[in-house]
Symmetry: D3
Subunit: 136 residues, 6 copies
């Protein structure tokens, strides 16, 4: 274990204009006055920072799915992949959007079960039922 990031965190005061513009947009959009470390490492590549932030902002916006459901999905993927940073940050985000402890626990129960049955299917290789074939 190393506590140090692979590249140094770029703080607001040390950032160039392109990075500051993204930092400003993050804070304005989220109505907060700080930037989390994920963006401070991405800032080493301003184009990557900008593209990732704009994609996240667009993908996580309300649409056919509500923002809390989207955060639950993000946690599901992060727990499946074992991403520590993402688990902490998206659990915090989901709580900020109203996720209850009971919802978190049920979410992880589904995630656990899906990871289990995925491997039972992988190991036993049942053919896809014709009833599950998509139409069209």
């Amino acid at each position: 274990m190393s506590g140090k990031p692979i590249v140094p965190l770029i703080q607001y005061e040390d950032a160039d204009d392109a990075v500051r513009a993204v930092y400003d947009d993050i804070m304005a959009f989220r109505k907060i006055d700080w930037i989390n470390n994920f963006w401070k490492v991405l800032a080493h590549d301003p184009a990557l920072l900008k593209r990732t932030w704009e994609s996240v902002r667009e993908v996580m916006a309300p649409g056919a799915l509500d923002p809390l459901t989207k955060e639950l999905i993000y946690i599901a993927v992060s727990a499946t992949n074992g991403c520590e940073y993402c688990t902490y940050s998206h659990t915090a985000a989901a709580r900020g959007k109203g996720m209850s402890e009971a919802q978190l626990m049920e979410l992880l129960a589904v995630v656990g079960m899906a990871n289990e049955t995925n491997r039972l299917a992988n190991g036993l290789r049942p053919p896809v039922d014709v009833q599950f074939e998509p139409a069209g």
Copy 2:
């Protein structure tokens, strides 16, 4: 690619009483008259079949999260893991519970984004922000 399952499908008419009891419960609970192939391979171990079915039934029941949200989470995990059978079967299940095409596409957009940012975090290792530390 092989179309054959690792163990033969156990059809209802060839199943013993322990397996039939589970098959009957699946059909009664789901109000359908057929059994999908996942259970027909698990049936080679009646205890595994029974435990898995009862766990799935309990985990996927309405609770703090509604059944459609749980199916979306199941798809998110299955797509992350690349489980083909699970992707077809749970997409079909979600559609049966009312998932629209727009919801499916947004779900996968979140899944894709989460898989992307999980790896950006894995590769750059930002420390978890104190603001994300759980309370207590």
Copy 3:
């Protein structure tokens, strides 16, 4: 890295009756006088705690495979997935069941090799040989 769990550990003295009943069963079954942290986080959802414990107890019991072999398999999966907690806890469990250092090292050699050849097969996509097709 954050040392804090996502939900607080529920200690025996703070647990309700449903949780204490599972804690008691874990300690009685394992003939120990403490509860490891995995169960103390699951305890936030007593139904999940109970179901997971009962499933683990049933799955890890002696059967067609002996308990040590089952622990080796658990380590193999945990190392493949990169689950830190699971690697420490199941390596400790396997040692408690008699796993030698030589067995651990050989286990990991197989795990490493399987992860390697899995990707050679994934990248080169050889068709499954007819000789490997399951019978029936």
Copy 4:
């Protein structure tokens, strides 16, 4: 789905001497008269073919763990990773070494459970108990 390998299969009669030497060793060692497709794609890089075969032969040999246990571990990893070719080939190999259907089913039950609890731990992040800390 495509049935074609990424690189053509190199058959014995078309192989150069370096490849034939490995093919001959595989057949002699396994006391069989055919080569499975995994090696026929690796043969495009004779050094990779030779190194992989020699490593597999060494790793899978009897030692502190018996060959059947090693095949079970190989299946556990392959099902966890979802490698189709590896699942078919190593299940066939395990059966050839005496794996019963009951052993296969119990193996997959453990694999499923481990994949489930790995994600519960990933999502809830319990700290490693001091009792699980390795000695030394």
Copy 5:
């Protein structure tokens, strides 16, 4: 196995203007006269289609790394994750950019080795050496 996509392919002639604009850009940028199936399923969500295409176009452009190296990295990830479609499509793309058979085989040798040593490290948990700590 099912040969059918989860959502129908949207052909050019059936696409609306937003989708056609992306299809046109893909063909113009790549100097080809057809659209591969990946985009035809994404087209069910024109915003996802557009964002994904623009991100891919930007990420895969020449920069500090050349386009062929980027395709090799894409194959490395796809083989690690076991994504069949991505393996075929990006191997074809890499060949179109000049990847030789020898380069493909060496690439996969590295991918296999990395997947192996990743799990040896996951299973044995060596601490990160101070010599590997990033500066700054």
Copy 6:
């Protein structure tokens, strides 16, 4: 989190002759005077240590791909799998071989994008285009 390795580090002065021979070869080959912790845990199985080192030395040697490209691929796999030790050690190795910060950031941008589109393909299951079918 535990800072302790699963097996103790075997230091040079405590190593037997077989282990010292590998340690000596690592230091001579890399022109350094220290051994990183990965090898010090593998040393509990001298055959595994030797085989792994010799494979790594062979696989990472210049060939159809240059050594820096191979390190980039190693990082891509390690970030995809979330292997912390491997990410730190191979990022350090790549920097030692001349990787610039801009190259690292572009590498991770590709890794992120590939992980994203892998899941879009896994979730939507487009058929492999005939144009991507390998020849032969």
